[in-house]
């Protein structure tokens, strides 16, 4: 009976020879052992290159992870691993070799940050995904040095799926532990799609910084700007809560008495540009506004009911978070 079914199935696939079979990892869900084996095979193919670019980052009192993304040794990691800008740190490659590095910029909002390995060497690196390459439901795999570098154990690999992606955060069910922070998350094309950020109380809902957060602020971070909640206190204040959607950066709430309300912005307006800078992410918008001072003028281009409108906004003072 089974044989008959197989014969029939084979027959069908011959009849539909022009139908391209979807790679197992692109399916909504694996259907059988064959699919699982394809996923396993793919993972084994992608691992060697991904592992080579992984670094363990050693701070005085703790450790994190990071990943090299350029030949000259630019490392993407998490802001809570690097701390300040211009700080000397040590990185360790999977073969155990150490190298000196210096922290660049980053953001406490998304937890993204950058580090530069020093010295004129060529480093192994991984390709970076483009904006929008990763989506909810995709398979992914994470690497890291949980608890620090351990030669006997080696690099730890974990598999999972993207379960949510919103603004500056991606969530997966790929497992994380302290020390994994700053480590890379890859898609099944071998591209870097996110950086490990925070563990959640539930082990199957961990947080990552999506690569989009780096893309939107690449030069800001590279030029050693660190956006912290403290530094934002001094900056200008607009007065909206917004969210990234596929239609753009949409205003969800206008806080009464703020610059945004006075300028006439309304819920559901879509923010397009600030001071001629196109907005790629919510975080970029926050960074631009906080880089200005209270009283500064910001030219905001936005969309309302299909029409593009422009308004000049006098920024206010950010209310203190502290009571």
């Amino acid at each position: 009976m089974l044989r008959l079914v197989i014969t029939l199935l084979l027959g069908l696939s011959i009849l539909h020879g022009d139908v391209v079979e979807l790679d197992a990892w692109k399916k909504k869900s694996p259907s059988d052992i064959t699919d699982l084996l394809s996923i396993q095979k793919r993972l084994r193919e992608l691992l060697p290159k991904a592992k080579k670019a992984l670094v363990s980052i050693e701070a005085g009192d703790g450790a994190g992870s990071g990943v090299i993304v350029s030949k000259d040794g630019l490392v993407l990691t998490a802001a809570h691993v690097t701390g300040k800008t211009g700080k000397k740190m040590q990185v360790r490659l999977p073969n155990g070799k150490r190298a000196s590095a210096i922290t660049l910029g980053g953001s406490e909002i998304s937890d993204a940050s950058m580090l530069q390995i020093l010295g004129n060497k060529e480093w192994p690196f991984v390709p970076i995904a483009r904006k929008g390459d990763s989506k909810v439901g995709d398979w992914c795999f994470g690497l890291g040095h949980p608890g620090g570098f351990d030669k006997e154990r080696g690099v730890v690999v974990r598999i999972g799926k993207i379960i949510a992606k919103k603004d500056e955060t991606m969530q997966t069910d790929s497992r994380l532990l302290g020390g994994d922070s700053g480590g890379p998350l890859f898609d099944f094309e071998g591209q870097l799609i996110a950086i490990h950020s925070r563990v959640s109380q539930k082990p199957d809902q961990n947080f990552h910084v999506p690569i989009e957060s780096f893309h939107a602020n690449w030069n800001t971070f590279r030029d050693e700007n660190l956006i912290s909640y403290d530094s934002m206190q001094e900056g200008g204040f607009f007065g909206v809560a917004c969210e990234e959607t596929k239609d753009g950066l949409i205003i969800r709430e206008v806080i009464s008495g703020t610059a945004a309300e006075k300028a006439g912005l309304k819920t559901n307006d879509i923010l397009i540009e600030v001071n001629d800078e196109p907005l790629d992410s919510r975080e970029e918008f926050i960074i631009i506004i906080s880089s200005l001072k209270p009283g500064d003028e910001a030219k905001v281009l936005y969309e309302r009911k299909g029409a593009e409108l422009s308004v000049k906004v006098n920024l206010g003072v950010r209310p203190s978070i502290k009571e």
Partner: protein
């Protein structure tokens, strides 16, 4: 308060439940499609059925204390020795319950062999994997505690030996001089605390041997295993006192301070001193230790021997665990 949240523009605050509500567009991956969702589990097909049929739940006073692998048609069950002390009953996936009889224990490997009391000689039992598993990343699965679902994941990290940890008193040592070694901190609820040691005590002797350096204390104590007793002579306010301390597990004692483990939930007491382990990331509670680990073909590649933290389980590989079943009729 709501305003403050908005001002902070904090993203770290939304939990999954909250997210579900605010995402009318269905941006959250349904549970069934996740790594351990029903749909992914179903793809494991026969390996899944095998895992459920040859794994047993071991209980004491109706409480799950460990799981086990059925290793013979006569109903022998292999499990984690230190978890299953006092195991009375085995429950199988078909709901049948059997009384247990202990056959063998191997403290070195932390394995115990039981047998279900029955005249039956056709229990479904595991087939050991014959290929020595490599360091290559592979899918693995185990039955979950109710024997209705499985948990799936991958091997991660190298196969390796896990060294011995030795017992600990649960103290932090400070200054050392001719009189002895100062105790600067006693970890609450740990071995030394339970025996009455206090911070400020000066340790002068361990098991009747004089100590003047921290290393001497550490060496004498760590030669012993958790559960062993050491006698400690201390000087407290010019008075000499003697304490008998039953040593604790390093991991349990000191990991109370470790944030990773605070978030991990209960971990296995013994998670050290194994000749070889496979590391994997199956989300299993410590009560699921002792159960078998399978590959995609449904062959048993190891026995889950220790829940190390929230994302790490160690398994004793088949080639080592199988020795405990030598001589059993197949």
């Amino acid at each position: 308060m709501k305003i403050v949240t908005v001002l902070l523009l904090s993203v770290s605050l939304y939990g999954i439940e909250e997210h579900k509500e605010s995402n009318a567009t269905g941006d959250l991956l349904p549970l069934e499609l996740r790594l351990n969702g029903k749909s992914t589990q179903a793809a494991f097909g026969e390996a899944k059925e095998t895992a459920l049929n040859v794994t047993a739940k071991l209980t004491r006073n109706d409480k799950l204390i460990a799981m086990g692998a059925i290793v013979s048609p006569a109903g022998h069950i292999l499990t984690k020795a230190s978890s299953c002390v006092g195991a009375r009953l085995a429950t199988l996936a078909n709901g049948k319950v059997y009384k247990l009889r202990i056959k063998k224990r191997n403290e070195d490997l932390d394995l115990a062999l039981y047998q279900m009391i029955s005249t039956k000689n056709d229990f479904p039992y595991i087939s050991w994997s014959e290929s020595n598993s490599s360091d290559k990343v592979s899918w693995v699965l185990s039955a979950f505690t109710e024997l209705e679902e499985i948990r799936v994941g991958i091997t991660s990290g190298n196969k390796r030996e896990i060294g011995r940890e030795g017992g600990v008193m649960g103290v932090i040592l400070g200054n050392e001089n001719d009189r002895g070694v100062l105790v600067t901190e006693v970890i609450p609820q740990a071995a030394a605390d339970k025996s009455g040691l206090r911070h400020g005590d000066i340790i002068q002797k361990v098991d009747s041997r004089s100590v003047k350096k921290r290393d001497q204390v550490v060496n004498l104590v760590s030669k012993k295993d958790p559960g062993d007793v050491v006698t400690v002579d201390v000087l407290r306010k010019k008075e000499t006192m003697k304490f008998r301390i039953t040593l604790g597990h390093r991991s349990v004692t000191f990991d109370l301070f470790n944030r990773n483990l605070q978030m991990s939930g209960p971990v296995s007491k013994r998670k050290d001193n194994f000749p070889l382990i496979i590391q994997h990331d199956l989300p299993l509670p410590k009560e699921a230790m002792g159960g078998p680990l399978f590959d995609l073909e449904g062959n048993c590649i190891g026995i889950n021997i220790a829940r190390v933290d929230r994302v790490t389980v160690f398994s004793l590989p088949a080639e080592i665990a199988e020795k405990m079943t030598a001589g059993l009729k197949k």
